[in-house]
C-alpha cells in the first residue's frame, strides 16, 4: 500500500476530491461520519438529561405500559445489594446474572492442592450412588389414593387479554401491589401479584373480586391466570 493510496483516501474522506468507484468507501465513510455527528448534535439538543414526566403515573401510553409489562416479565427490574463486595463485577451481582460459574470456580480453587480433594471426590461419588439407588425404587407403584392432582387455580376468562391484563396491572399497582405479567401464549397470561404487608389489602381484594378472582394472600406471592374467553360455537 503506497503513500499515494493513503493520500487519495484522505482527500476523498476530507471532501477535497470526489473520488471514484475504487474510493467509494471513503465517500460513504465521510457521509456516515457526518450523519453520526449530526445525530449526536440533535440528541444533545433534545437535552442531555432526562426530564421527569408530569404524566408519570397517569395517562401512561399503551406502548409504555406494554413495555413495562414485558420488562417485568423478563425480570429486568430487580433489587440489588446496595454496595458490591470488593472485587465483584456488576454482572456477578445481578440476581439473574448467573453466579454459578464463579461458585464452581471458587470451589475448584478451594480444593485445589488440598487433602480435601479426594474427600470431596468421595462425597460426590457417594451422592451419585445415593441418587441411583433412589431412582431404582421409582418403578414401584405409588399409592394413588394419597395423590391429589389439579389443585384449584385462581383463574378468570376475559376478552381482549392484553388490554385486560394491562388495565388490571395498572390498577393493582396504583393500589400498592407488585405485579409481574407474562404472556404464556395467545390465549393465556399469568400474573404474579405480590401484596406487601404495608399495603391496604381491602381495595386490592375488591379489585380482584370485581375481576373475578378469589381472595389472595397478603405478604406472599399470588399466581393468577387469565385466559381468553372462549367464543360461543357458531350456529348451524
Amino acid at each position: 500500500m503506497s503513500q499515494a493510496d493513503e493520500d487519495r483516501f484522505f482527500e476523498v474522506l476530507e471532501g477535497r476530491a470526489d473520488g471514484d468507484a475504487e474510493t467509494s468507501g471513503a465517500r460513504v465513510l465521510r457521509q456516515a461520519v457526518e450523519a453520526r455527528a449530526e445525530t449526536l448534535q440533535e440528541i444533545a439538543e433534545i437535552g442531555g438529561t432526562p426530564v421527569a414526566s408530569a404524566e408519570q403515573n397517569e395517562g401512561v401510553s399503551a406502548r409504555r405500559q406494554a413495555l413495562l409489562v414485558k420488562l417485568r416479565s423478563m425480570n429486568a427490574f430487580a433489587d440489588l445489594p446496595a454496595e458490591p463486595p470488593p472485587g465483584q463485577t456488576a454482572q456477578a451481582r445481578r440476581p439473574n446474572g448467573g453466579n454459578a460459574p464463579s461458585l464452581v470456580e471458587r470451589c475448584m480453587a478451594h480444593f485445589r492442592d488440598s487433602w480435601l480433594r479426594p474427600l470431596s471426590f468421595a462425597a460426590v461419588l457417594a451422592l451419585v450412588v445415593g441418587i441411583i439407588v433412589q431412582q431404582a425404587g421409582l418403578d414401584q407403584q405409588a399409592d394413588e389414593r394419597t395423590i391429589v392432582r389439579g389443585a384449584l387455580e385462581n383463574a378468570v376468562a376475559a376478552e381482549r387479554l392484553a388490554q385486560f391484563v394491562a388495565d388490571l396491572t395498572t390498577r393493582l399497582e396504583a393500589r400498592g401491589a407488585f405485579v409481574v405479567a407474562a404472556q404464556i401464549n395467545d390465549h393465556e397470561w399469568n400474573l404474579s401479584v405480590e401484596v406487601p404487608a404495608t399495603a391496604d389489602r381491602a381495595p386490592i381484594q375488591e379489585l380482584l373480586r370485581d375481576a373475578g378472582f378469589r381472595d389472595i394472600e397478603v405478604g406472599g406471592t399470588n399466581k393468577l391466570v387469565v385466559r381468553e374467553l372462549a367464543s360461543p360455537p357458531a350456529a348451524k
Binding site: M1, D5, E6, R8, F9, F10, L13, E14, G15, R16, A21, E22, T23, S24, G25, A26, R27, V28, L29, R30, Q31, A32, V33, E34, A35, R36, A37, E38, T39, L40, E42, I43, A44, I46, G47, G48, T49, P50, V51, A52, S53, Q56, N57, R64, L67, L68, K70, L71, M74, A76, F77, A78, D79, L80, A82, A90, Q91, R93, R94, F178
Partner: protein
C-alpha cells in the same frame, strides 16, 4: 438526571428502577426516534426499534459506563439495532421496495452513494471505532480523530495543534488511523465489499 444519577437510582432496586423507567421513557423514545429518522426509518419499524432499544437499556444498564453520556450510549444501542435492520433489508429483494414512494420512504442505505453492503460495512467500522477506548489516558479516541478530519480537513500542522503533539506525531496518528480502518474493513466486511481504500488486499 445525568448518567451517574441514572446508575445510582437504578442500583436502589426495582421500585426506583420503575420510577426511572417512567421518568426517562419519553426522553429515551425521542432520542431513539431521532436516530431512526436519521437513518430514514419511520413508522412501525421505528417504533419497534424504540421498544427494543429501551428494553436493552433496562436489561443491560449495568454495562453502561457513566463516563460516557447516557444519550451516547443509547445512540450506540440504537445504531447497532439499525445495523441489524439494514442486514435484514439486505436479504429482501429490491422488487419489494415501493416504486412510487417519495424518497423519505426509502431507507438511507438506498439514498447514499454506494451499495447496501457498503453502508453496513461502514456502520460496523464506525461502531468498532466507537467501542475502542483511547490508547492512553487523556489521548483522543480514533472515532473522534476521524470525525475531526472529516469535519475540518486539517493540514498536518492544524492536526498537530488539535492533538497537542508534533507534526510528525500527528502524521503518524493519521497513518495509524488509515491502517486501522483498513484492518477493520477487512475484518468486518471481507474483500468483496471493502472499498474503503483503493484495494483492501
Amino acid at each position: 438526571m445525568n448518567g451517574a444519577e441514572f446508575l445510582r437510582r437504578m442500583r436502589l432496586g426495582r421500585v426506583e428502577q420503575e420510577r426511572v423507567f417512567h421518568e426517562c421513557y419519553a426522553w429515551m423514545e425521542r432520542v431513539c426516534l431521532t436516530v431512526c429518522h436519521k437513518f430514514r426509518i419511520y413508522d412501525q419499524t421505528a417504533d419497534d426499534i424504540v421498544q427494543e432499544v429501551i428494553s436493552t437499556v433496562y436489561l443491560k444498564w449495568e454495562t453502561y459506563d457513566e463516563r460516557a453520556a447516557l444519550s451516547s450510549w443509547i445512540y450506540q444501542i440504537a445504531r447497532n439495532r439499525i445495523i441489524d435492520e439494514l442486514r435484514k433489508l439486505r436479504t429482501q429483494p429490491v422488487e419489494s421496495l415501493p416504486e412510487d414512494g417519495d424518497e423519505d420512504s426509502f431507507p438511507l442505505a438506498y439514498l447514499l452513494s454506494g451499495n447496501l453492503e457498503q453502508q453496513i460495512c461502514v456502520a460496523q467500522v464506525i461502531a468498532a471505532l466507537e467501542s475502542q477506548p483511547p490508547a492512553r489516558n487523556g489521548s483522543m479516541r480514533m472515532v473522534d480523530l476521524l470525525t475531526y478530519i472529516v469535519e475540518h480537513a486539517p493540514s498536518t500542522e492544524e492536526l498537530a495543534v488539535f492533538l497537542e503533539t508534533t507534526a510528525t506525531a500527528a502524521k503518524e496518528r493519521k497513518s495509524y488511523l488509515y491502517k486501522r480502518l483498513k484492518e477493520l474493513c477487512m475484518e468486518l466486511c471481507g474483500d468483496e465489499y471493502c472499498r474503503m481504500i483503493k484495494r483492501c488486499n
